[in-house]
Symmetry: C2
DNA sequence: TCATTATTGTCTCAATTTGTAACAATAATA
DNA sequence: TATTATTGTTACAAATTGAGACAATAATGA
């Protein structure tokens, strides 16, 4: 249980951890013990810890991965977010019955999104929650606080940032086909793209390296595998 | 002097208030009494106040304007930002000699930028400062905390958002010439644009309304005045 | 009154980029 | 060996962009 004296009061962070599988974006959600309440993974900022470091630490604790694309995108601070009853339910379900607990106060939440290759991840529930699982972006359960709004704004931001190239490379494995890459773009933009124009643009950008072909046992021409020329990570700050 | 009990501890906001005059971007800075210290205008969040409302309230107090384009763009929370000695200097210069004052604690700062027509503004110093003045973006004095980094990131964000059209309309008066508009774009992008291509793009976008000509007494063809088709304001949140 | 000056609005044309389709290449299969 | 389902490349029209030419003015001043 987080201790009041080691964290900055009134400040939290929440992370929208985004993965990609086949054709859909997925998000990591936590479910709290015996409550049926779902939330984004998040945490608090140590009194001697940089804000962005705190978010990164929390992400590592949750996913076990250390070098991850993480970007701060907005800070949520509406009074209506403050739902002490909900938080009290969670605390009580964890054996903490304290009406004066510091977590019942009002918190401002700094929101981040992370992009990861979801096959590499074994989600780790924290002390308060009993599951930490991937959910498809279009089949999310109801979330506590204003976490649904946070997810929506994360997707919106991701869309707007797609052209800055950093996105695809963090959602795919080291090597991938042109079709894989196009599916990532389509999942983010929510629309179909023209195959040959997409291929031309990607090849023309010079950001891809072509490798051997991938023989996948299907009855048609085998696609090339590609990787990104340089991995750019740790965009926080 | 802000009171501890009426504001959320550890949380502040700072605003980069951007105006445009002729050919340069300008920023509002405050100078604290008898200290020679410069800072961005900022403030704190009331215990029952939405974060974005707090920033807007502070902006109104500072400029006297009520309908202003205001956008949250990043939250700064590095430990190195915490400089209690600097804050103590400011407090002491204002007659507050209290080593335990709440403002000496560590603060996370949510940063906003605002776009305004700077001719409409009469800057209002607050209780702690004795001047609140426009400075050219390329002639800023040294700023306290990490306020210089905040300014840089604001300009960077503004540049990235320029294509979303909302920018120019908030930096110019109701009616303006095509040249005025081009100068705003050039000041933000930091580079010259091709006159006729710019004109074609702006006219083609359909976002401008053409009005009468402006006879400015110069020995050449008089330019048309334009206005934006719809004013879009209050983008916070 | 009339040429001069500085700037504006429009037009033209080439260069580049984009949208769309055609087509040949090729792994596996029957 | 023909068939099938893709993939990589090429081709070409359509649209956009870059850069300049040029005519249309407001004021000035001879």
């Amino acid at each position: 249980m987080p201790d009041r004296s080691t964290f900055l009061n009134h400040i939290a962070y929440d992370s929208v951890i985004i993965g990609f599988s086949g054709d859909k974006l997925k998000i990591l959600l936590m479910e709290y013990h015996n409550t049926g309440l779902f939330a984004l993974p998040g945490g608090f900022v140590g009194v001697n810890e940089d804000l962005n470091d705190a978010a990164r630490r929390g992400l590592e604790e949750r996913t076990g991965l250390t070098h991850i694309y993480l970007e701060q995108f907005y800070t949520f601070g509406n009074v209506s977010r403050h739902q002490p009853e909900t938080m009290y339910t969670i605390l009580k379900a964890n054996g903490v019955d304290d009406r004066e607990h510091w977590l019942l106060g009002r918190f401002i939440s700094v929101a981040y999104y992370a992009l990861i290759n979801y096959k590499n991840v074994v989600p780790q529930p924290d002390a308060l929650s009993d599951s930490c699982t991937w959910y498809s972006i279009d089949e999310l359960p109801e979330l506590i606080f204003e976490h649904s709004a946070i997810v929506n704004k994360a997707i919106e931001t991701l869309r707007a940032n797609l052209d800055r190239k950093l996105v695809g490379m963090n959602l795919l494995p080291e090597k991938f086909t042109m079709k894989d890459l196009q599916q990532v773009y389509e999942a983010i933009l929510g629309k179909k793209l023209h195959r040959t124009a997409f291929q031309r643009e990607m090849l023309g950008s010079g950001m891809l390296i072509r490798h051997d072909k991938q023989y996948n046992g299907k009855a048609h021409k085998a696609p090339f595998l590609y990787s990104f020329r340089e991995r750019t990570l740790n965009q926080t700050g």
